[in-house]
């Protein structure tokens, strides 16, 4: 393999890994903030215990999300320096703003939250977690604005003199139509993932016979909140995903065609079918066998049942005419890897729907107050922990792989963005070591999550958390 392929693998591995922690962090910070606010309002100790319990799990997750995030920022310069030179004028700004607006908020207020129990006024302490959540949301906004530019460049001027894309309208970059649907899609998916995390852990305690009976109502409440988050988040994800499909058809028709395995264009009036399953030839030029729903694809992509939808082969021919003349855009073939695009799209939706089904069933059982000690709930807990997470990963792999061979759609192919100076050996070494390190860290992280899940919510001993009531020399209430 060459440095290019290895750099792509390295980016893929580190991004997908980083993205295991991001949606949990976004979703869980909201849920912990809600739990802590509920304690402030009701003084019901259960809420405080749950806030501390999930807060602890949150910090374990946050740590890995943060450190793997630094790797992502460095990656652009280390492995993709030509890309950084080409789009730095545009792409760097949201990244820098993300750090200034979001990362400082998250990190500083998390420090305050962890060490602030009993040291700062209660209301301020609860507000810290809300601030952390706002930080994560802002962070998502700016990084997705940068990503949306890669999907659909706007607000720029391709300057032939400097050989780079230059910013002419920052507002356009922040309100890119792709960004306006991607941001809510990712945000709702993150809430769904945080909800899945909470539902899973609470459900496991509800299922487990060793968890004291007296604790059951508390965990059932937590499970219900988690389930509602999965369902609301899931609903939002579906609605935004649907709008996203239409915008994608407009700005990245190749990605949509590949996602659907639609090889030949369907003209206006006929109505393109939605593929439930399509098997194509290995070189990705022809359909061999397919099960389809008539006209549904036209509806999903254009909003009418007989709208025109472009196919892979026609688009490829069209792109060859348009883009083959310039060094940064010339390719023999403008098709993404069709099976990857096709299947990741379906796996994303399938895993997401499965999580919603589990959440709906759990909510129904919780609402009716039924026993949940059947083995089914054990597997449901495990499922709902991972399903939204993996759906998120498939979604990103679809978005990024479906954009190929472009790094910035229509402006720069992936092969022209890689760092020219790095050697295969260097990229291989760092990729192998990152993978190894990330693997070890995953084992540690899962181990810690299991350990703290087993321990359950900490006891409430009635002590005051108001700094006015506490002596100056009190030990820390909550430390690492």
């Amino acid at each position: 393999m060459e440095a290019l392929e290895l750099a792509r693998w390295q980016f893929g591995i580190t991004t997908v890994y980083h993205y295991f922690f991001v949606p949990i962090t976004i979703g869980l910070s909201l849920l912990v903030a809600i739990l802590q606010t509920a304690w402030m309002r009701t003084r019901n100790p259960e809420w405080l215990r749950l806030a501390k319990f999930f807060g602890k799990l949150f910090t374990i997750n946050f740590a890995l999300g943060l450190v793997t995030g630094i790797v992502q920022e460095f990656q652009f310069g280390m492995n993709w320096s030509d890309y950084s030179r080409f789009v730095g004028d545009i792409f760097g700004a949201p990244l820098a703003i993300e750090a200034l607006l979001a990362f400082f908020l998250e990190s500083t207020f998390l420090g305050l939250w962890i060490f602030g129990w009993g040291r700062i006024p209660e209301k301020l302490h609860a507000a810290c977690m809300w601030v952390i959540h706002i930080g994560t949301v802002l962070s998502a906004y700016f990084i997705l604005a940068a990503n949306s530019f890669m999907q659909h460049p706007v607000g720029y001027f391709n300057n032939p003199e400097t050989g780079r894309a230059e910013l002419i309208d920052f507002w356009a970059v922040l309100t890119n139509p792709v960004q306006l649907v991607t941001f809510p899609h990712v945000l709702t998916a993150a809430w769904m993932t945080g909800g899945g995390f909470m539902l899973a852990i609470a459900l496991w305690h509800v299922w487990r016979s060793r968890t004291p009976k007296s604790e059951q109502p508390m965990y059932r409440k937590a499970a219900a909140i988690g389930a509602i988050a999965v369902l609301l988040g899931g609903l939002g994800t579906i609605v935004t995903g649907d709008i996203q499909g239409k915008i994608m058809t407009e700005v990245q028709p190749m990605k949509m065609a590949a996602a659907e395995g639609l090889y030949d264009s369907v003209p206006e009036g006929e109505g393109a079918p939605f593929s439930i399953i399509t098997v194509g030839t290995l070189d990705g030029t022809e359909e061999v066998w397919a099960v389809t729903v008539p006209k549904l694809l036209s509806y999903l992509s254009t909003g009418t049942f007989d709208g025109a939808v472009e196919g892979i082969n026609d688009l490829n021919a069209e792109y060859q005419l348009t883009y083959s003349g310039e060094e940064l855009t010339a390719m023999d073939d403008y098709r993404p890897i069709i099976p990857v695009t096709y299947w990741t799209f379906r796996l994303m939706m399938g895993f997401g729907f499965a999580a919603m089904v589990i959440a709906a069933l759990a909510l129904l059982w919780l609402w009716k107050g039924k026993e949940m000690n059947h083995r089914f709930w054990y597997w449901s807990a495990i499922g709902v922990m991972f399903l939204p997470l993996i759906a998120n990963s498939w979604g990103w792999i679809f978005t990024e792989m479906g954009r190929q061979p472009w790094l910035v759609f229509g402006l720069m192919t992936t092969q022209t963005g890689v760092s020219p100076g790095t050697t295969t050996a260097e990229v291989f070494t760092t990729m192998a070591l990152f993978t190894l390190l990330y693997g070890v860290l995953a084992v540690i992280e899962v181990g810690l999550i299991i350990k703290y899940t087993r321990e359950g919510a900490p006891e409430y001993d009635g002590e005051s958390l108001d700094p006015d009531d506490r002596a100056e020399d009190q030990p820390f209430v909550f430390t690492y």
């Binding site: 602890k56 374990i60 460095f74 908020l105 602030g116 070591l433 860290l441 002590e463 030990p475 430390t479």
Partner: protein, 352 residues
Amino acid sequence: MELSTIWFILIAVLWIGYFVLEGFDFGVGALFPVLGRGDEKLDGETRKRVMLSTIGPFWDGNEVWLITAGGAMFAAFPHWYATLFSGFYMPLFVILVALIVRALGFDYRGKVDSDVWRRRWNWCIFLGSVVPSVLWGVAFTNIVMGVPIDADMEYTGGFFNLLNPLALLGGIVFLGVFVTHGAMFLALKTDGPIRHEARALAVRVGGVSAVLAVVWLAAIHLDTGTALSWSAAGLAAVALLGSLAMARKGSEGWAFTGTFVAIALTVASLFLALFPDVMPSSTDPAFNLTVTNAASTDYTLTIMTWVAVLFVPIVLLYTSFTYWTFRKRVSGHHIPQADTAEDLSVGSPGQS
């Protein structure tokens, strides 16, 4: 003033912020095996936890200065970012790994009650603090002194090219000064035996570091210095010596301020020596990356300037609030004396 010059200054400020702040938490981490020694069952563990508690609320925010400096370089000087990050590939990789294991060390070492577990994370915290300190010194010496860069702005040297004697001296100086800075911070923020040991150690390490720093700074500024950069370097030396004198006198607040100012002025002197280049080429001065040829467009810089003007004060405000909130000294009795990890995590027993 040109916008690109303003951004050169802002990036210098971000790196200064990073080194004056993360400098002390690097120092505390590097001192883990020295000031945190002792019988693990008795005071060794308590000492380490006192040390951790002094930087616990801050280190994470300190690290964001690095992320912001990196992001700002990307946005304001894409060519600088691209040449530096792809050129210093392996050192940056090592720094990343070190920062990862260090951060997890802080967060995870108290989460399982096992000596083996804690000992491993202790190593991560120690190495994760020492290695980046040294490598940042190596990197910044090389940036100022110049490295092989070709006409396409690409770094053409290898990994070992970066490990020249002056750069290695720079690494040792960074480590020495950060250890001094960290010891001053511990003297200021703790009580009991650690406080006195830290102060004595700061004076000793600081003295050696001061001598090395003078040699290193002189070598750099003899080569590329200007009147301004010489003045900053000279004042840095004065601040460091003043800090040591204050520490001997027992004025811990002034002593810490002294190392703070010394580091700020040292980094400032490096950037002053660099200007108007951002990465000089040792191959041919015609290939130098400068504030002009490496910069983004004025439009991007204008937007970034507005964002910085509006938000940097807010960041400084709430950062100061955190330091004010945790302004009290930490000592052994603040640490929950728990037998198990569960007790550590929620801290209910041992509070009577």
